[in-house]
């Protein structure tokens, strides 16, 4: 159709630009890791931020363990608050990585190659931050190991009907699998690093990490097979993890928690938040490290589209919640919504609707999707919005439930904030160390991409420009 062809021409940027060859790719990406000069001064800034706030995290934890959960604002009836909010927030962020690398791989989406390494790293670090909360939100963290099934002198076991046990299994599995996935993805690149470094400890370290990878065709054969299957495994895994997290709430009998739509709606939310966070980091970094050729405007366009889609699902979720309240005819459900709309925390609900419901709508316009500042701002708004969503789901549902006599209020304390800031610092620190020492784009897959684009442009999500393919050729 006319309009479509027009659209096609207008918005059909290549996903790989500039003069590219295996050599160029290897060098452009690899060299970042090899020399400090390639790093802008801002890198130090972020490292400094991390180094400043990681101790905050450590101290908050120490004081928490010493004094007890009482230092937080939690109370009866609001027994869960920032601890679980932040947990869900982080774990949500931790969903983009595996999703990108696994699902997009299955769908043979070539634009994934230039962002998956980065996103996976984010996943792992986010899950690390998330994992802290369930462990520390317990009243007696020093006996947390009771959640794991191991033979003991008490003859006691965990109680497998509890979603919290499901969480433990889900998250530890998720973390392990993501880590392995990330690592085997790294092996060939470590080999490249090994071979690019000229001697020294660095070479030895990369050598060990590469485990003697030599690019043998037979190895590649098995490698690809298992990598693909791993992707196939991670896809249901990534869906299950946030579904299970959502079951923490859906399994309970609390109005506002006991909602059947939670699993899909949480997963969508997670992807939503995850992509927002990827953009949040990707956009500045591609600038600072001159990676515009690999992370093209087209990638940003794709990611915005994903955000828009998942955002719509989430928004649909909000509408459904309201619909249930009315449809259920259950006075407690009905009051829940009235309370969300007009209770003491109403503001947070409206803010949430704006952040997650209204703001992303701007991404309908292709122009806006290509307007970097706009996308960046939307990403920020969404990250905030997703935090608010958990706030609305957890404390706001808890603080007024069945018996009016036990209604209460919740106010976060200094320690609620300090711990959150701490995790952010920790996360940033890890991210920028990763950028420093590990190739942040998947080199061998970029080569692969280049190769594919050359042999058959039609297969590519977009054609590469001719001379680049020539260059790649000889």
């Amino acid at each position: 159709m006319a309009t479509e062809t027009k659209y096609e021409e207008k918005y059909n940027e290549p996903i790989l630009t500039g003069n590219q060859s295996h050599e160029v790719i290897t060098d452009r990406i690899g060299s970042i890791v090899l020399s400090q000069e390639k790093h802008p001064n801002i890198w130090w800034g972020f490292i400094a931020f991390g180094v400043m706030f990681t101790p905050v995290l450590v101290f908050s934890i120490a004081y928490l363990v010493y004094k007890g959960i009482g230092i937080w604002g939690n109370n009866q009836p609001v027994a869960w608050a920032c601890d679980i909010i932040n947990f869900v927030w982080w774990i949500g962020i931790g969903h983009a990585g595996t999703l990108i690398s696994a699902i997009l791989l299955l769908f043979r989406q070539q634009w994934r190659n230039s962002i998956n390494r980065f996103a996976e790293a984010m996943t792992i670090f986010a899950v690390m931050c998330a994992g802290l909360y369930p462990l520390l939100h317990t009243g007696r963290p020093w006996v947390d190991y009771w959640i794991f099934p191991y033979p003991n002198i008490l003859g006691m076991w965990p109680q497998f009907r509890s979603p919290l046990v499901w969480d433990v299994f889900a998250i530890s599995t998720y973390f392990t699998v993501s880590l392995l996935f990330w690592y085997i993805g790294l092996i060939p690149d470590f080999a490249t690093m090994r071979d690019k470094t000229k001697g020294g400890v660095a070479q030895k370290i990369y050598g060990v990490l590469a485990m003697g990878w030599r690019g043998s065709a037979r190895h590649w054969h098995r490698y690809e097979a298992s990598y693909l299957i791993l992707a196939g495994l991670s896809t249901p895994l990534v869906l299950s993890v946030h579904s299970i997290v959502s079951l923490d709430f859906a399994v309970s009998i609390l109005p506002g928690w006991n909602v059947t739509v939670f699993p899909p709606y949480f997963v969508a939310g997670a992807v939503f938040a995850g992509f927002a966070m990827v953009l949040l980091f990707m956009i500045p970094i591609r600038k600072w490290y001159h990676l515009e050729d690999y992370v093209t405007i087209r990638h940003i366009d794709w990611m915005s589209k994903v955000m828009l889609t998942t955002g719509l699902i989430v928004f649909y979720g909000y509408i459904l919640e309201m619909f249930y309240c009315w449809y259920s005819g259950n006075i407690y459900e009905i009051y829940l919504c009235i309370n969300r709309l007009s209770g003491p925390y109403a503001l947070s609900y409206y803010a949430l609707i704006f952040c997650n419901g209204i703001a992303p709508q701007i991404l309908w316009s292709p122009k806006m999707r290509r307007n970097i500042p706009v996308v960046f701002t939307v990403a920020i708004i969404i990250s905030i919005g997703m935090w608010l969503e958990r706030f609305v789901i957890i404390p706001v549902s808890l603080h007024r439930d069945f018996l009016p006599s036990s209604w209460g209020m919740y106010y976060p304390t200094f320690w609620d904030y300090s711990m959150f800031l701490g995790t952010m610092g920790f996360f940033t620190l890890l991210m920028f160390l990763f950028i420093r020492f590990v190739p942040m784009l998947n080199i061998f897959e970029m080569r692969d991409l280049l190769y594919k684009l050359n042999i058959d442009p039609s297969k590519g999500a977009g054609h590469t420009n001719v001379e680049s393919s020539k260059k790649g050729g000889n």
Partner: protein, 248 residues
């Protein structure tokens, strides 16, 4: 390109990889071993006391009944410790100037109680009631070990929850009535056994195991007897496994 690693490195890294993988399991195993070791549980470790009191001498050689000193063992949760007065009942007559008993006499004069070291102690958060166990016919040694053999008293069993559950799950393994005088009440059975033992009456294997207080796998016939006893005494087995029986 020159080799980065020597040929031997292949073996090295594989070994290292294996060790790293197996380290957590090994650690866990060691910890569990430690927690079950006498070093941790204090089982079988004689404890020094202000007065080197010998159960073997009093309970076995002299044949003094447990209840003589542990007066409330049948009546109360607390078995009861002999007061200075109780000791002095005899020791104002015999061994009146033995140096070993100096602390006793001093306590009697000053009224400052003797501080015995705790040997058998139920772990925290557990409510244990001696009287009901004795009244149900559980032998002292079943928990306290071969007290009649102890010079300085030591802890007979680990008192771990799992250990308690042995009996709370399968009381039939531990309950018994003497063939000779089965007319006695469960409570009497307990002390009757010690009397027999002290008088040197030949004992059955089961009885010996009860005296020694170690886990004893009963013969099927003994087991059946036990089952009938459980029925007869109206012991609700499943209720015995409820948390709130001991933890409240």
């Amino acid at each position: 390109m020159a080799q980065i690693f020597r040929p031997s490195s292949n073996t090295v890294i594989r070994t290292v990889l294996f060790l790293v993988a197996s380290a957590p399991w090994a650690l866990g195993y060691l910890l569990s071993m430690y927690s079950r070791s006498p070093y941790n549980t204090k089982v079988g470790v004689p404890m020094d006391q202000p007065i080197p009191f010998s159960h073997r001498h009093h309970a076995y050689e002299l044949g003094i009944d447990c209840r003589n000193c542990h007066t409330s063992v049948e009546k109360s949760s607390f078995a009861g410790l002999p007061s200075t007065e109780t000791c002095m009942q005899c020791h104002s007559q015999i061994w009146t100037n033995s140096p070993l008993l100096e602390p006793l006499r001093k306590s009697y004069e000053t009224g400052v109680p003797i501080k015995w070291k705790v040997v058998n102690r139920v772990p925290d958060f557990v409510q244990f009631n001696h009287s009901i166990h004795v009244n149900r016919g559980i032998n002292c040694n079943q928990c306290h070990g071969p007290v009649q053999q102890m010079h300085l008293t030591w802890k007979g069993n680990s008192f771990e929850m799992k250990w308690c559950l042995n009996c709370h799950r399968e009381p039939e393994k531990f309950l018994y009535t003497a063939e000779t005088n089965s007319g006695l009440s469960p409570r009497e059975q307990v002390f009757n056994l010690y009397m027999k033992y002290q008088q040197g009456v030949p004992l059955t294997a089961k009885e010996r195991s009860l005296i020694r207080g170690y886990d004893y796998s009963p013969t099927s016939d003994e087991l059946n007897k036990g089952k009938t006893i459980v029925k007869k005494r109206g012991i609700e087995k499943d209720q015995l496994e409820d948390c709130s029986v001991c933890h409240y």
